[in-house]
């Protein structure tokens, strides 16, 4: 049998022949050898179909993941993508939040914007969202509508003296905590109005052994200084 005819029978047996080729193969099939060969090839095809059965695979996703890790590849679990971009951005945001929280908590020196002789007072930064203080609160010498501050600017002498006088013998913490009256002439309140002042004497008290303290009704007549 010619090779060309054999190839034709192969095509017919495996279903790859065109209509023309099938017609030609029909003509060939009158030859008994060709007919026998075609039957052989058809059986071969059927035999191949029997090979389609394969044992079940037992390869798992875990095995694949392990193989990837062994190959130095790192399978990402999340679907975020570009994780390496999110991490520093997240760290930056966290740092900013912590820093802003710490700044809110710590007291800072503030100065009212009434002029160069404005007293320096201690106050806490108020959150932006907090409502403005009421009129009654504005009257208080401790509030003095603090504005944020040029901390490098030296406080004026006039602003320093009352605090120093009143707390000359006190601790540093007492100085920070004490309410400081304003001596600013432009300020709406009366300087040394009706607030009580405690004078601390250098002599010790016999009963307690601590330094003697005298409470004044008003600071209006108190002369501050050496």
């Amino acid at each position: 049998m010619k090779r060309r005819d054999e190839d034709l029978l192969l095509k017919v047996a495996f279903g790859d022949a065109t209509a023309d080729e099938v017609a030609r193969a029909d003509g060939l099939s009158r030859d008994p050898e060709a007919s026998r060969r075609l039957a052989e090839l058809r059986r071969m095809r059927e035999g191949l179909h029997l090979l389609r059965e394969v044992p079940e695979a037992q390869i798992s996703t875990e095995r694949l993941r392990d193989a990837l890790l062994r190959n130095g590849l790192k399978p990402e679990r999340s679907g975020w993508g570009l994780g390496w971009v999110w991490m520093p951005a997240g760290a930056l945001a966290a740092t900013f939040l912590i820093a802003s929280w710490v700044m809110r908590q710590s007291p800072t020196l503030v100065r009212s914007d009434a002029g160069p002789s404005a007293p320096v007072v201690l106050a806490k930064r108020e959150p932006v969202s907090k409502p403005l203080p009421s009129a009654a609160q504005e009257q208080s010498p401790t509030v003095a509508v603090p504005t944020f501050v040029n901390e490098s600017a030296p406080p004026s002498i006039s602003s320093r003296r009352p605090g120093q006088a009143a707390n000359r013998h006190g601790s540093g913490r007492a100085k920070r905590a004490a309410p400081l009256p304003s001596l600013d002439p432009g300020h709406s309140e009366e300087p040394f109005s009706s607030d009580a002042i405690v004078m601390i004497e250098p002599e010790a008290d016999d009963a307690t052994g601590a330094q003697r303290a005298v409470e004044m009704e008003s600071g209006a007549d108190v002369l501050v200084g050496g």
Partner: protein, 206 residues
């Protein structure tokens, strides 16, 4: 007309599958491993079947599947969306099994001897009735061995076309050749297989 409708439906399904695979590949490229896991779940059976037909051993086939998916993960950026993902995967398996075959020439020679022996046994064996020799199981064994004894390039196309029933354009893309070239390779491979099993099947019919 119904045949045309079925053809169109198959083409639409293929398109949808391609789109779904493409989307998963896209996600996997962006680092979403769950997308790659889904690709693995979808196609591992297909890849395993092909690998098994190529190496004829379950363990070896599983190793091949694993290696193929590792290579695929490593080279996802090289995958071009115009080809089907499965075609690309099968191409990887083909290359891997070709490499294996090149390295395992000795083993192949042993297998060829074994297959030759099996054919001798089938044709000259002790069983009196030749029709009995061609019982289904034995025919399967003989064919499997004959297939295993084929050179790797012939085995690949026989498995792709006659066992996995891939379309010629798919085979062409898998092998990296034209459709006409794929048809020619399939024809040559069948011819080679027939030369090995022909005498056996001829006896059955006589």
């Amino acid at each position: 007309m119904p045949a045309l409708a079925i053809k169109m439906e198959a083409s639409v399904i293929r398109r949808i599958e391609m789109d779904a695979d493409g989307a998963l590949v896209q996600r996997a490229r962006q680092g979403d491993f769950s997308a790659f896991e889904e690709l693995f779940e979808r196609h591992r059976t297909l890849v395993y079947r092909f690998a098994y037909q190529m190496v004829q051993r379950r363990d070896d086939a599983e190793d091949l599947v694993q290696e193929a998916f590792v290579r695929a993960y490593q080279n996802l950026h090289r995958y071009r969306d115009e080809a089907k993902f499965t075609t690309w995967l099968l191409r990887i398996v083909t290359n891997l099994s070709t490499d294996q075959a090149r390295m395992g020439q000795r083993r192949l020679a042993l297998e060829q001897q074994e297959a030759g022996g099996a054919l001798d046994w089938m044709t000259v064996g002790t069983i009196q009735d030749p029709v009995q020799n061609l019982e289904e199981d034995r025919r399967k064994i003989a064919l499997r061995k004959a297939l295993a004894a084929l050179p790797i390039h012939h085995r690949t196309v026989i498995v792709l076309r006659d066992l996995e029933e891939r379309e010629y354009p798919d085979i062409a893309r898998t092998l990296g050749c034209s459709v006409g070239g794929a048809k020619l390779r399939v024809l040559r491979a069948r011819r080679a297989l027939r030369d090995r099993v022909g005498p056996l099947i001829g006896e059955e019919s006589s």
